[in-house]
């Protein structure tokens, strides 16, 4: 009989009948007025190979020219390009964001092609989650950029899905509402189209890909939606050019053998797509995105971060407590890391110091060695010089002696001569 138990069970209420008109039947109208004043927002993601007709179909769907330029086939990676437009019809304002893939299906190795798309969708969910978790948040004026619908353009080969299509759709089916469409459907005959649609749906079912099913819970649209569910995927043709048929100008493609009218239901399923996507189920798409895909993302993300709804003792744990605990943990870890880094720094400094000391010592040794060598050489040179000087002095002495001898010889010779002369004279 704890307080929490009582709070959980809804109070049994009795239904009363009114005796007059109260007026709360205007509640939906008040809601509608409010939301009309605010304006609506819708985000479409178009995935398909380059040149398959994504931009043209968007132009045709929304009856405007979104100024898209042709992409090249040589992008090294898949990229996404988002553009936001403000449209108005009667007094309803729509903020439409169209996200196109650029370079999808062009690379030789397409194993990573789905990753940029998944990353983009996750990023939008993440920014919404961050906004939701803020302390001071402004959700009503937040520009919701989460992807509400994903149009996947299937190439009209007439056989089956491509392997890339299957791989990509499997990765996306739990993150976004996938609506597959067969692009450039004016190249498939009626009988081929029937077989193609059956083949595609059977492949999707057998591989467990969950595409968006139009909702059947509302009686007013349940019948239409059931019929449409059986016609998936829609085979569409897009065109912004107008051709005169009968006495009207209609959007069409002119061939030598006939004119394919975009809005003719026997020619293609464009009208059905427009009705289903925009007229009938746009709000449901937004709701599904918020309640199913976003909640799944949020749950996974928070579980990753370590939040749980119930303690190990299965007592409900409030977000705040968990958050506090997490914060403490985080701070402790920070401190520990800081300590570690400081220690590592000190150690490194020591190492470097010892290294430098070693090298200094080595240099000193070398210097001493060189000095010794130098001194040795100098001594040797000194020795040599001394020897040389000795040699020189001895040489000098010898020379002096030799000169003396010569001088003596001369004088003695002169005496001898004189003697001879003298003797001869006499």
């Amino acid at each position: 009989m704890s307080s929490s138990d009582v709070a959980r069970r809804p109070d049994p209420s009795r239904s009363l009948s009114l005796s007059g008109h109260v007026g709360f039947d205007s509640l939906p109208d008040q809601l509608v007025n409010k939301s009309t004043c605010q304006g609506f927002c819708f985000n479409i993601l178009c995935i398909g190979e380059t040149g398959i007709g994504k931009s043209t179909l968007m132009d045709t769907l929304f009856n405007t020219n979104f100024e898209n330029f042709e992409a090249s086939h040589f992008e090294p990676q898949v990229k996404l390009r988002a553009q936001t437009y403000d449209l108005q019809e009667s007094n309803v304002r729509l903020r439409l964001t169209v996200v196109n893939t650029v370079g999808f299906g062009d690379q030789m190795n397409k194993q990573e092609s789905y990753q940029p798309v998944v990353d983009y969708i996750d990023r939008q969910f993440e920014s919404y989650l961050q906004e939701e978790l803020k302390i001071k948040r402004s959700l009503h004026s937040y520009h919701d950029s989460r992807v509400h619908a994903c149009l996947y353009f299937i190439s009209p080969t007439g056989h089956s899905l491509k392997s890339l299509d299957l791989v990509t759709m499997k990765k996306l089916d739990s993150k976004v509402n996938i609506i597959p469409v067969i692009a450039k459907a004016d190249t498939i005959t009626k009988s081929e189209l029937h077989k193609f649609k059956i083949k595609i749906m059977s492949e999707l079912v057998s591989n467990g890909v969950q595409i968006y099913q139009f909702p059947l819970d509302d009686e007013t649209v349940a019948q239409v939606n059931t019929a449409m569910n059986g016609l998936l995927p829609f085979a569409v043709v897009g065109s912004t050019e107008e051709v005169s048929v009968g006495n009207k100008m209609v959007k069409a493609r002119q061939y030598p053998w006939g004119v394919v009218q975009v809005e003719n239901e026997t020619h293609c399923d464009f009208v059905k797509l427009r009705e289903m996507l925009i007229c009938v189920n746009m709000e449901d798409l937004r709701e599904q995105t918020h309640t199913r895909h976003y909640e799944l993302y949020r749950r996974c993300k928070l579980e990753e971060m370590g939040f749980k709804d119930t303690d190990p003792e299965s007592k409900p744990v409030s977000l705040q407590e968990t958050y506090e605990a997490k914060r403490q943990e985080f701070l402790l870890e920070l401190q520990k890391r800081e300590e570690e880094m400081r220690q590592m720094f000190v150690q490194r400094v020591k190492e470097k110091e010892s290294e430098l000391k070693d090298s200094e010592r080595e240099l000193q040794n070398r210097f001493e060695q060189l000095k010794r060598l130098h001194a040795d050489e100098k001594a040797a040179l000194e020795e040599k010089r001394r020897l040389l000087e000795d040699d020189q002095s001895s040489f000098g002495k010898r020379r002096a002696a030799a000169q003396l001898l010569q001088a003596q010889n001369l004088t003695s010779n002169g005496k001898k001569d004189k003697d001879r002369k003298n003797s001869g004279f006499m």
Partner: protein, 375 residues
């Protein structure tokens, strides 16, 4: 016969028939015709392109037969990591006494997997294998019944859904341009309006020039052909790459039964020149240029292959002769070039030498620097 009389006999005028100089070799073309009819012709066509582009349907339309009676198409999940196979279908067809042995080589799985790097290797290998076999047969002793399985023409299907060539198209055509006559086609052209077809063709021609892809070029017609032929030839050349549509079904148009595709908004006739270039392709491929395709294959692609083969062989033999001079093997039967290990190791040795030299230079420089520092 003197020179004068020989000159006069060249021009056969109707009144010369009774003349003494009538020789009669003007019937040579007829003789050639008779002999070739007796021998029969053969033609090998390779079709390549992603699945779902209408290759089989086009081949059926071209040769008015049903070649792929019960083929199994793979599911998407089976194709995620599919490898490229090569399948061959051979049929014998006859028209007015002329027999044609037609071989269609199909390449299921090309470009279908998620990772398509080097998916053309098996196709390249197949073409090389045919060349090799023919080379072997040609150099053999008994050459009576040589089967010519060489690929004479490759039809490459470009999808019309994009803006031009894609990386896989460029890689494929560049890999095969030296080995086979590549004829690019725009497939499933019934999804393009005439204006779009013109733009796409210009784009493709530009990109083929830009990337230097050598596709099959029509030979220029002789200057003494008549004007009509020259005009047709010019038109043919200006409408490449051909935008084609194929169909297995026959529909009724204005009381006539023609091959076509039935749409709620009209009927596309395959053989209507205003609808697509199918007729031009058929004319080019079968009626006028089939022999030229075979000749270019024999004279250009095969000869290139053969010359390369012989070059690698002589290098191999020379290297081997250098190594063991005593055991010189006189082989009339040419040995086939395996990987030439000698040439490769030589290159490796040279590279290593270079590296060593560079490292020695660096060491010397460092030593010098240290020496300068010390002093």
């Amino acid at each position: 016969m003197t020179a004068n009389t020989r000159y006069r006999s060249r021009v056969l005028r109707s009144d010369d028939v009774e003349e003494k100089e009538y020789v009669g070799f003007a019937t040579l073309p007829n003789q050639v015709h008779r002999k070739s009819v007796k021998k029969g012709f053969d033609f090998t066509l390779l079709v390549a392109g992603e699945s779902g582009l209408g290759k089989s349907t086009l081949v059926n339309s071209l040769f008015l037969t049903d070649l792929h009676k019960d083929r199994k198409l793979l599911n998407a999940e089976e194709r995620i990591s599919q490898t490229v196979e090569i399948t061959k279908h051979t049929v014998d067809i006859e028209e007015k006494g002329v027999k044609l042995k037609l071989t269609i080589v199909d390449t299921p799985g090309f470009g279908d997997a998620v990772n398509n790097t080097e998916c053309w290797r098996s196709i390249e290998g197949y073409i090389d294998h045919q060349f090799e076999q023919y080379f072997r047969d040609e150099s053999g002793l008994n050459r009576k019944n040589i089967q010519d399985n060489r690929v004479h023409c490759c039809l490459y299907f470009i999808p019309p859904f994009g803006h031009g060539l894609r990386p896989v198209d460029i890689e494929f055509m560049k890999a095969l341009q030296e080995k086979v006559n590549v004829v690019p086609l725009i497939s499933k052209a019934d999804c393009l309006t005439p204006g779009e077809i013109k733009k796409l063709k210009e784009r493709l021609r530009e990109e083929i020039d830009k990337y230097g892809i050598k596709i099959y070029q029509f030979p220029d017609c002789d200057s003494d052909e008549d004007e009509e032929f020259k005009q047709k030839d010019k038109e043919l050349k200006e409408s490449t790459p051909f935008a084609v549509i194929g169909s297995n079904a026959v529909v009724e148009v204005k009381g006539q039964r023609v091959r076509g595709r039935l749409y709620p908004w009209g009927i596309v006739e395959v053989e209507n020149q205003a609808h697509c270039d199918f007729v031009k392709l058929r004319t080019m491929l079968i009626r006028t240029h089939m022999n030229d395709l075979k000749e270019v294959t024999c004279d250009v692609h095969y000869e290139n292959y053969r010359a390369q083969c012989i070059q690698t062989m002589t290098r191999c033999v020379c290297a081997r002769a250098k190594v063991n001079a005593e055991n010189r093997v006189e082989s009339p039967i040419p040995l086939f070039p395996m990987a030439t290990p000698d040439a490769d190791t030589e290159k490796l040795i040279k590279m290593k030498d270079e590296e060593l030299r560079r490292m020695q230079q660096m060491l010397q420089k460092m030593q010098q620097q240290m020496h300068e520092q010390d002093l």
